[in-house]
Symmetry: C2
Subunit: 683 residues, 2 copies
C-alpha cells in the first residue's frame, strides 16, 4: 500500500519535472522573441533615419563640403543615448548583468554560488541592457544574454516562487534544493541557446560541452526537450510576426540559409586547416588583448560613473571609425543584387550603393548574414581589410565593458570578414580557382575564429550548421577548422569564458585533478581545526559559533568528553542556513511539543534560497539554557574520507558528486579536517 | 626539476592517448570497409546469379508451369550455406558473438565484466559471422557488429598487446587498467557507429546516449575525434573502391541522399505524432514478441546443433515467404525509372520489371534505400502491406538467433515499409494531398519504428539525418516521431537492448537509484560477514581464503586482536587478482631483498587483463611461515560509507565513481559489510 503510494508520488514528481522543462522552453523562447523583435524594430528605425539623414545632407558634387557632419552627429547621438541607458542600468542597478552571462551560468552549473545570478531583477536588467547595447551599435551580440535569460527563467519557474516579488506560488516545492535547481538551469541554458540561434541540437550540445558538470541520461533527454520546445515556439512566434504566409516550417537559419548546398574537395582540407591555424592565432591574440584591456579597466576605471563613460567612449570611437571608413573608402557597387534593406548612396552614382555603409548601417548579426551570402564581388578588398581590422579592435575593447553583451556574434563577424577577405585575395591571385566561393570561406573563417576565441568545438559546429542550414556533409570542414583553431589557441592561453572566470577568482572545479596534487594526501589540503557541534548542543554555543565564524557547514559529533568537541566522533553534518532557521524558529528540545508535529523539511525549504543572516536572530536571553537536538535536522550521511586518502581520488569524489563539504576523518572516525571547494583551487 | 619531469610525462601520456584514439578511428573504419565491401560483392554475385536463373527458367506464357522450382532451390541453397557457416562459427567457436553486440558493449561500459567481449578472436568470428549472415539473406544488419568491432579494436590497440597471440608490444602500458580501457572502448564504439552509418556526430551521440556511463569533457572530445577520423577514412577507402572520379567529399549517405530538401507544414506535425504512436505500439509489440520467442528458444533449443538448425530453418522460411510473395503477387512496373541494379522480369511484360522481386533481391540496406527514394507509385499497396507483415515477423524471429546480426536495419526497414504504406493509403484516400511524399513518410516511419524498438532518440535522429543528408530543419519531425514512439513504447516495456541485458541477468546499474531503495540504509543491502585480511598476514591464511571463496575484493584491516580479523580497523582494500600475483611471485616479507627493488605497479599490469586463477598457485609448503605485507600493494583509500548512510546516496557514489566494491564501516571505522554491484540490483 505504502509502496504504491510512493510509486505514484515519484511518478507525479517526474511528470511535473517534464512539465517544468516544457514551460522553460516556452518562456525562454518568448523572452528571446521579445528581445529579438524589439532590437530589430529599433535598429530598423535608427538606420532608416540615419540613411535618410545621409541622403538629405550629402554634398552635391558642384558645391562641395560640409553637411555630412549632421548625420554623423545624429549617428553618435543615437548610439550614445541607448548605450548610456544600458550601461547605467547595468552599473547602478545590477552589476552582475555585465558581460555575456555565459561564464556566470557556467560557474553556477559547476556548483559555485554566484549571488543574484538567477533573479528576476537580473533578467529584467539584462534584457533591457542587451536591447539598448545592440541598438546602440556596440560590437556585441544578443546570444550570451539570451542564454543567461534562459537560465533565469529556468530557476524561476522550477522554484515556483519569486523572492523579488515576495510571492510564493506554493507549487513545485519538491524541487527546492540546489541540485534540482541546477538541472533546471542546465535545461534553461540549452533553451536559451536554442532560442538565440534556432539550433535545438546545438543548444543541447552547448549545455553538455560548455555548461554541464554532471552527467545523467535522463537529464540530457529533458534538456533536449526544453531546447526543441524553445526553438519551436520561437519559430511559431517569429513566423507570425513576419506574416505567416504558409505554414511551412523552415527552421530559423538566423545567419541565413545557403542557396546551394556547400560542397568541397579533398585538396581544400589543408586550406581549412590553415584557416584553423589563422583562427587559433587571431583568437589567442584576441583573448590576450582582451585580458590586458580588462585588467587595465579593473585597475584604472574603478568608479561607477567612469564605467558608464567608458562605454559611451567606446561607442563614440566605434561610430567615428565607421564614419571615417565610409567617408574615405570609395566602394560603390551597382544596385540590383543589393542585399541590404536600406542602400546608402552617398558619393556613389545614381544606380549604385555604398558597400562600406552597407556593412555598418545594420546590426552585427545582419552583417554576418551579408558576409555569408552576398554574391562574389560585393566588396573591395580594402573595404574588408579595414573592416576586419576595425572590428577586431572594437570587439576586443567592447567585451568587458559594463554592458550586457555577448561575444559570439562579433567574433563570428570578425572571422567571416577575414575568411571572406582571404578567399578574395586567393581568387585575385589564382583567378582559375573556381572553388573559392567567398561565402563558404566566410563561414569557415567564422568557425575558425569562434574556435580560436571560445574554444568550443562540437556545439559550435552544430550551431553553425543549424543556423545556416548547410548539409551534414559540410560538418567535416567546419570541425576541421574548429579543432585546428582550438588546438592552436589552447597552446597559448585559455578560452575567453575561462579567462573571465579565472580573472574573477571563481573557484571552478576543473575536469581532472590538477597534476600538482599527485601524491598528496587529504592531510595536505584540508582545513583544520574544524569547529564542531555536538549532536545535542546548547543554543548559546551554536549562536556564538555562528556569530564568530562564517563557515557554511559544521560537522556534528557525538561521543564527546566534556567540551572537547573536536575530539568527538562524526555522526553528521549541518549547514549554517539550517542552524539559523533552527534558532530563528526556536526549535529547541525544551519546547519540542510546540513545533515538532508541524515541522518538516518544508520548514527549511520555505526560506530557500535566501537564507536570513545570523544578524536577524535576536541575541538569546542569557538565562535560558535551551538545547538543540541536531539529529532531527542534520544530514546523517555526509561524505567522509580518510586523512590518508590521496587527493586525486578525493577530488574525483568531490567532483562527481557535486559536493560542497567533505569531512576528513582519522582512523577512529574522529574529525581531522574539512575540505571545501576552495581547497582544490591551486594557490 | 621533478615537477617539470612529471609535467612532461603527463603531456606525453596525453599525446599518446590522442594517437591511440586516432588509430582506433582508422582501424575501425578499415575493418568496417572490409565487411562492407565483401558483403556488397558477395550479395551482388548471389543476386545476379539468382536473377539470371529466374530469367532462364521463367515459364513462357504458352507452355505454363514448372521450372521456377529450380531458382527457388538455388535461392534456398545460397541462403542456407552461408547462414549455416555463420551460425556454426558463432555457436561452436565464440558464443559471445551472437546478436548485435551492442547490449554487451553497453554492459561492458557500465562496468560489468563481460568475459571475452573484447578479444581478437571475438572480432574475427563476429566479422565473418556478420558477412555470412547478411549474404545469407537473414533479416539483420551489419551495424551492431560493426560497433562491437570498433570496441574490440579500441580495447586491443589501447592495451598494446594481444593475449590471444601471446604478444606484448610493450607499449601503451600506462593504459592497462579498467577505467582507461573503458574510455577507449567508448571511443571505439563511437568510431564503429560512425563507420557503420557514415555519421560522425551520430556516432559520438550514440556513445553518449546509449553507451557512456560516466561523463568527462575531455572524453567526449576524444570520442568525437575517433568518430570523425573513422568516417573520413571510410569515405576515402570507399571512394577509392567505387572509382575515385572527383575528389569531392560527399558524405557517405548510406541510406541514400534525398534529391530535394525535405520540407513539411505545421499541419503535418499531428501526422508525425500519429506515426510516432504507431511506431511505439508496433515497437513495443515487437519487443514483447521477440522476448517471448527468445524465452521459448532458451527453454526448448538448448543444444548447439539445434541452434544452428534453427538459424537455417528461419532462413528457409524467409526465402519461402519471399518466393511466395514474388510468385503470387502480380506487381509489374515499367522499366526506366527503375531503381534496382538487377530488374527481374518474371511474369511481367517486356519493358516492365517485377516490383516484388526488386524488394527481395537485394540486401536489406538496399531495400531501405529503395523505400526512401523510389519515386511515388513504385509499388502496389498490397505488395507493401504483405512485405511489412512478412518482414515484421521475420525480423522478430531473427533477432536472438545464434548469428552475428544487428537489429537496426531490419527495424528501419519495417518502419520504412509501413511508413510508405500509410502515405500511399492516405494518398489513395485523399488524392489532393500533395504533401504526402512517400519517401518522406518512409523516413518518418523508419524513425518511429526505430524509436519504438530501440528507444534511443537523439543519436538516432542525428544518424538518420546524417545517413540521408536531410537538412537540419527536418530534425524536428524526426525527433517528434521518435520521442512520441519512445514515450508510447516506454509505457509498455523496455527497449530491445535493455531487454536483452535484463534477460541475461547482467548486473547493470541504472541511472537513478531504484525507488524501492528509498529510506533504506546501507545496513539493509550490504553483504556480511566480510572476510578480511590483516595488513601483515600469513601467506597460508591468504592462500586458504582464496581457495575457499570467490570474492573479488578483500578489506585490509589492522588493529586486530588475535585472529578476530573482522573486528579490525579498515585501512585499505586489496583485489583477488593482486593477491594471486603476490602468491605466484612469492612477494613475501621474508625474502623482501630479492624482489622489492624490481617490483613496481608494472608487475601487476603485465598480467592484466587475464589474471591467473588460484589453481595455478602451487600449494604452499606447510613448513614455511612466510608473511605478506599488504601495505605495499593495497589501495590505501578505498571508498568507505557508514552503515547508517542511506542507499540512494551511496548508490550515487557507487555510480558516479564506477566502483566495484564499497566498504561499509561502523562508527569506529571497523568493518560492517561490503557492497558490490550485485547488491544494487533489486532481487
Amino acid at each position: 500500500q505504502r509502496q504504491r503510494l510512493q510509486d505514484r508520488f515519484s511518478l507525479r514528481t517526474n511528470v511535473i519535472r517534464w512539465i517544468i522543462f516544457i514551460l522553460i522552453g516556452i518562456m525562454t523562447a518568448l523572452i528571446a522573441c521579445t528581445i529579438d523583435i524589439v532590437i530589430e524594430e529599433l535598429s530598423e528605425l535608427k538606420y532608416m533615419f540615419l540613411k535618410s539623414s545621409v541622403d538629405n545632407n550629402v554634398p552635391i558634387s558642384d558645391r562641395e563640403g560640409g553637411d555630412l557632419a549632421l548625420p554623423f552627429l545624429w549617428w553618435i547621438l543615437l548610439s550614445i543615448v541607448p548605450v548610456a541607458i544600458g550601461a547605467s542600468m547595468v552599473t547602478f542597478i545590477e552589476p552582475i548583468t555585465a558581460g555575456s552571462g555565459i561564464p556566470q551560468v557556467k560557474s553556477y552549473l559547476n556548483g559555485v554560488k554566484v549571488p543574484r545570478i538567477v533573479r528576476i531583477k537580473t533578467l529584467a536588467v539584462k534584457s533591457i541592457g542587451v536591447i539598448t547595447s545592440v541598438v546602440g551599435g556596440l560590437a556585441g551580440g544578443k546570444e550570451g544574454p539570451m542564454i543567461h535569460a534562459g537560465a533565469v527563467v529556468a530557476a524561476g519557474i522550477s522554484q515556483g516562487k519569486s523572492t523579488t516579488f515576495v510571492k510564493d506560488f506554493r507549487i513545485f516545492k519538491a524541487f527546492r534544493d540546489d541540485h534540482e535547481k541546477r538541472d533546471f538551469v542546465l535545461g534553461g541554458a540549452a533553451a536559451g541557446v536554442s532560442a538565440a540561434f534556432g539550433a535545438p541540437i546545438g543548444g543541447m550540445l552547448f549545455s553538455l560541452e560548455e555548461a554541464a558538470s554532471f552527467w545523467n541520461q535522463n537529464l540530457i533527454w529533458r534538456t533536449l526537450i526544453a531546447s526543441i520546445i524553445s526553438s519551436f515556439t520561437l519559430n511559431i512566434v517569429l513566423s507570425a510576426y513576419h506574416g505567416l504566409k504558409d505554414f511551412t516550417f523552415t527552421g530559423l537559419f538566423n545567419l541565413g540559409k545557403f542557396d546551394q548546398p556547400l560542397s568541397f574537395e579533398y585538396f581544400e582540407l589543408p586550406i581549412f586547416m590553415l584557416f584553423g591555424v589563422t583562427g587559433g592565432l587571431l583568437g589567442a591574440a584576441w583573448n590576450y588583448l582582451n585580458m590586458r584591456i580588462n585588467k587595465f579597466r579593473k585597475r584604472y576605471v574603478p568608479w561607477k560613473v567612469g564605467k558608464v563613460c567608458e562605454a559611451i567612449l567606446v561607442s563614440i570611437v566605434g561610430v567615428s571609425m565607421a564614419a571615417g571608413m565610409i567617408y574615405f573608402i570609395n566602394d560603390c557597387r551597382p544596385l540590383g543584387n543589393d542585399p541590404t534593406i536600406h542602400p546608402v548612396q552617398l558619393f556613389c552614382e545614381d544606380n549604385e550603393y555604398n558597400a562600406v555603409a552597407a556593412l555598418w548601417f545594420q546590426t552585427p548579426e545582419a552583417t554576418v548574414r551579408a558576409l555569408f551570402h552576398d554574391p562574389p564581388g560585393s566588396h573591395k578588398i580594402l573595404t574588408l581589410a579595414m573592416f576586419t581590422l576595425v572590428y577586431y579592435v572594437l570587439s576586443c575593447a567592447t567585451f568587458g565593458l559594463n554592458v550586457s553583451l555577448g561575444v559570439f556574434i562579433p567574433v563570428a563577424l570578425v572571422g567571416a570578414a577575414w575568411g571572406r577577405l582571404i578567399a578574395m585575395l586567393l581568387f585575385y591571385l589564382f583567378p582559375a580557382a573556381q572553388f573559392l566561393h567567398p561565402g563558404k570561406y566566410a563561414l569557415i573563417g567564422a568557425a575558425a575564429n569562434l574556435g580560436g576565441v571560445l574554444r568550443m568545438t562540437i556545439s559550435l559546429s552544430v550551431i553553425l550548421m543549424e543556423t545556416t542550414g548547410v548539409e551534414t556533409s559540410f560538418f567535416f570542414p567546419l570541425i576541421i577548422a574548429l579543432i585546428t583553431a582550438k588546438w592552436i589557441g589552447d597552446s597559448f592561453n585559455e578560452g575567453v569564458y575561462d579567462t573571465v572566470i579565472e580573472v574573477n577568482n571563481v573557484p571552478m572545479l576543473s575536469w581532472e585533478p590538477l597534476p600538482q596534487y599527485k601524491g598528496l594526501t587529504a592531510h595536505a589540503i584540508m582545513s583544520q581545526p574544524v569547529i564542531c557541534i555536538k549532536r545535542v548542543d546548547s543554543a548559546h554555543y551554536i549562536y556564538d559559533v555562528l556569530r564568530k565564524c562564517q563557515h557554511n557547514g559544521f560537522p556534528v559529533v557525538d561521543n564527546v568528553e566534556g567540551d572537547r568537541r573536536s575530539k568527538g566522533r562524526v555522526c553528521g553534518i549541518i549547514l549554517r542556513s539550517q542552524l539559523i532557521v533552527i534558532l530563528l524558529k526556536s526549535l529547541y528540545v525544551e519546547n519540542k511539543h510546540f513545533w515538532l508535529p508541524e515541522t518538516t523539511i518544508q520548514t527549511f525549504r520555505d526560506v530557500y534560497p535566501r537564507y536570513p543572516s545570523i544578524k536577524s536572530v535576536r541575541p538569546l536571553d542569557r538565562k535560558i539554557n535551551y538545547t538543540v537536538d541536531l539529529s532531527l535536522f542534520m544530514n546523517h550521511s555526509p561524505i567522509r574520507v580518510n586523512a590518508h586518502d590521496c587527493v586525486p581520488k578525493i577530488f574525483n569524489i568531490f567532483r562527481a558528486l557535486g559536493l560542497r563539504h567533505m569531512l576528513v576523518i582519522n582512523n577512529e572516525n574522529r574529525i581531522a579536517g574539512i575540505i571545501t571547494r576552495a581547497d582544490f583551487i591551486y594557490k
